[in-house]
């Protein structure tokens, strides 16, 4: 019983990680860059929810829609301003601007909204009874939503023109361009989708814990990135798997008072072990290096 409960808790927090990890993975797959500012897009999503739902009193779902739009626009803006000028430059330079962007978003958020937590309370989801077993509705909602999002994303990538163009760009940018694909447009779309997913993740995070502050996205961002790498960066089901794995490990680690303080260390150790066994993640494609 306790075991099942812990597992479910892990699944629900894992699905939030998975949603963030999807954003990392997509951007990495297409633009070949670690978007360190991704976690802070979640934070912006959280503040958007605060402004729309709490200050302006909109319906939570309308607020979510607005947050998704806001984040998508933000993602595209960041890409245009900070990453696009560096296309073709060393990947490290892009990494550094991404980090700079992350600092910038955090300090801007603090300037605008101050240092105190802003509370975002949207729904009270309550409990669902299945026979004698009580399960938190939050768990059900997050799990099913992230499953739907993942399936939709996979279908989108596989069966739409844009989705296939994405695959093409991630395989070989130059060849895709020769085939008449507008690479810049595809990258823009990827950032928009990734950031929209971050807004969803932000929504689920505030649903669970209402305080929003400027460092809201930093740690989940790093963990989700780890999850994306565990699953095999660039792979959509991999991101899902990695995220769930992180959540479950975290949940079980916290049941023991001796191990609990080492939770983060354990998560990262798992990452190292998995990468040592499978150098490109669980579901990552192995790339053969050619001369």
């Amino acid at each position: 019983m306790k075991f099942l409960e812990t597992l479910l808790n892990g699944l629900s927090s894992g699905s939030t990680y998975a949603m963030i990890a999807l954003g990392y993975t997509m951007v990495y797959g297409i633009a070949k860059m670690l978007n360190f500012a991704h976690g802070d897009v979640i934070m912006v999503g959280g503040y958007t929810l605060f402004v729309t739902a709490m200050t302006m009193g909109m319906h939570p779902l309308v607020a979510l829609l607005l947050a998704v739009i806001c984040c998508a626009i933000l993602g595209v803006t960041i890409e245009k301003l900070a990453y696009k000028p560096l296309r073709g430059a060393s990947p490290l330079a892009v990494l550094i601007t991404a980090i700079g962007m992350s600092y910038l978003l955090q300090s801007m958020a603090q300037m605008i909204f101050g240092s105190a937590d802003r509370m975002v309370r949207l729904f009270d989801l309550g409990k669902i009874n299945i026979g004698s077993f009580r399960i938190s509705a939050y768990t059900v909602v997050t799990l099913s939503c992230s499953a739907v999002i993942m399936v939709a994303l996979s279908l989108f990538v596989k069966y739409t023109r844009i989705g296939r163009a994405m695959i093409a760009v991630s395989e070989d940018k130059a060849a895709a361009q020769l085939m008449g694909i507008n690479v810049n447009f595809i990258i823009t779309i990827t950032f928009a989708i990734g950031s929209a997913l971050a807004a969803f993740a932000g929504f689920f995070m505030v649903l669970k814990s209402p305080p929003v502050n400027s460092t809201l996205g930093a740690m989940p961002g790093i963990k989700a990135f780890t999850a994306a790498v565990i699953g095999g960066i660039g792979s959509i089901p991999g991101a899902m798997l990695g995220g769930i794995l992180m959540g479950v490990v975290e949940s079980f680690a916290q049941t023991s008072p001796v191990i609990a303080p080492f939770t983060v260390a354990i998560e990262f150790s798992i990452l190292i072990v998995i990468l040592l066994v499978r150098p490109s993640g669980i579901l990552g494609k192995k790339r053969r290096e050619k001369v």
Binding site: Y28, L34, A82, P85, L86, R87, G88, A89, S90, L92, A93, L95, I96, T97, I99, G100, M101, Y103, L104, Q106, S107, M108, Q110, M111, I222, F225, T226, V229, I233, P261, F262, V264, A265, F268, S269, L271, I272, L275, L276, P279, S280, G281, E289, V291
Partner: protein, 380 residues
């Protein structure tokens, strides 16, 4: 004298400046008349310069991204501080310098051991995968030091450290910077260094030419970690407590920013960038107090983004070249083609692929009867 003419003085300018700075500030330091803020800035700069130069060895010369440099520093700082506390208790006052030196050695060696440990996955992983492993390593180390029982390393309150005489420490720090620079620069210019740069340019080609990639990767990680450990010990002597929160991934990233801004594979660049970033941080912190403090993060981030874009954007290349100091200087002096020497090219700038011949000559097994080196000696 002829030997002297061959010296590329540009490569020694850094030493010269560092020695001059050490002497100049050291003079005031020994008199204990140096302003407190300057002293702190110099200490921080020394730590940052050692870190940046040692990270550049991995990022710039081996070509592997490391996001866990603060982890090595953390190991050095904790063990160095622990050693210093133990030694101070047993040896008493009056032996500060000896204690400092022993601690440096302990911290450096401990970090170097960790360097070997993290070098092992580096053999299997590349690029961003290795980057995340190093990041994970840094966080693991920090988390372990933080959560071990309080009796061992002080837990969340941090490990007690021994503050070295404030007016003197930066002199030792600068001497360590000079030593670090000398050792790393000589390593890079040695046959080992050439092997390392060839691995960066093409691991497969390097392997094909008989370079022991495993050995060199481990070697680079170990050396880099050793100096990060040294920087950590030096850092621990600037503090009264070594606290685990200092060494989070943001710190690793700050070091990486120094390396990238300074230019990968340019040690002088790393030194300058480390100095600049430390200075910028300190000045922003001093000037922006009270309600203005919130601007600090904003300005730091903006400077960082704009600098990186300016230095790296392909679209700005033409502009950059026009505005570069080198070109401005070139306009001032006329070139005499007859005076251009072959060896005017400095090592940092020559793509190593051209040097394949030299690399080839490096790793031939000693038992082979013919080695180019030997023959060359005999000719002499």
């Amino acid at each position: 004298m002829s030997k002297f003419r061959n010296v590329k003085w540009k490569q020694y300018v850094a030493y010269l400046l560092l020695i001059a700075a050490t002497c100049y500030f050291g003079f005031f330091g020994l008199q204990r008349s140096l302003d407190r803020i300057t002293t702190i800035l110099l200490e921080k700069a020394a730590v940052a310069m050692i870190l940046a130069v040692s990270l550049n060895l991995v990022v710039g010369f081996l070509g592997e991204l490391s996001l866990g440099h603060a982890g090595f520093m953390c190991v050095g700082a904790y063990l160095g501080a622990k050693t210093a506390v133990a030694l101070t208790a047993s040896m008493g006052p009056g032996n500060e310098l000896v204690i400092l030196l022993i601690s440096l050695l302990v911290g450096g060696v401990a970090a170097a051991v960790c360097g070997v440990v993290i070098g092992l996955p580096a053999l299997r992983l590349r690029g961003d995968y290795l980057a995340i492993v190093t990041l994970a390593f840094g966080e693991i180390v920090r988390s372990i030091f933080e959560n071990l029982p309080d009796e061992m390393f002080g837990g969340s309150l941090g490990q007690q450290a021994v503050r070295y005489i404030r007016h003197h420490l930066f002199i030792i720090g600068f001497i360590l910077v000079i030593l670090t620079l000398a050792i790393i620069q000589n390593f890079i210019r040695s046959k080992h260094g050439r092997a390392v740069t060839s691995i960066r340019d093409s691991e497969i080609a390097a392997r094909a030419t008989g370079i022991n990639v495993t050995k060199y990767k481990l070697m680079v990680f170990t050396i880099s970690a050793f100096f990060a450990g040294i920087a950590g010990v030096l850092f621990s002597f600037t503090q009264n407590k070594v606290q685990p929160t200092t060494f989070d991934y943001n710190y690793s990233i700050e070091i990486l920013v120094m390396v990238v801004l300074g230019g990968m594979g340019s040690l002088n660049g790393s030194l300058i960038a480390a100095l600049l970033i430390t200075y910028l941080n300190e000045q922003l912190q001093i000037v922006l107090t009270g309600d203005l403090a919130v601007l600090r993060g904003l300005m730091y981030a903006l400077v960082m983004i704009l600098l990186v874009i300016y230095r790296n954007a392909p679209a700005l290349k033409v502009f950059r070249e026009k505005a570069s100091i080198k070109n401005l200087l070139a306009k001032l002096k006329t070139h005499d083609p007859s005076k251009i020497h072959d060896d005017e090219a400095s090592w940092d700038r020559v793509p190593t692929k051209i040097m394949v011949d030299e690399v080839l000559s490096v790793d031939i097994q000693p038992q082979s009867p013919y080695t180019p080196d030997k023959q060359w000696k005999e000719e002499k």
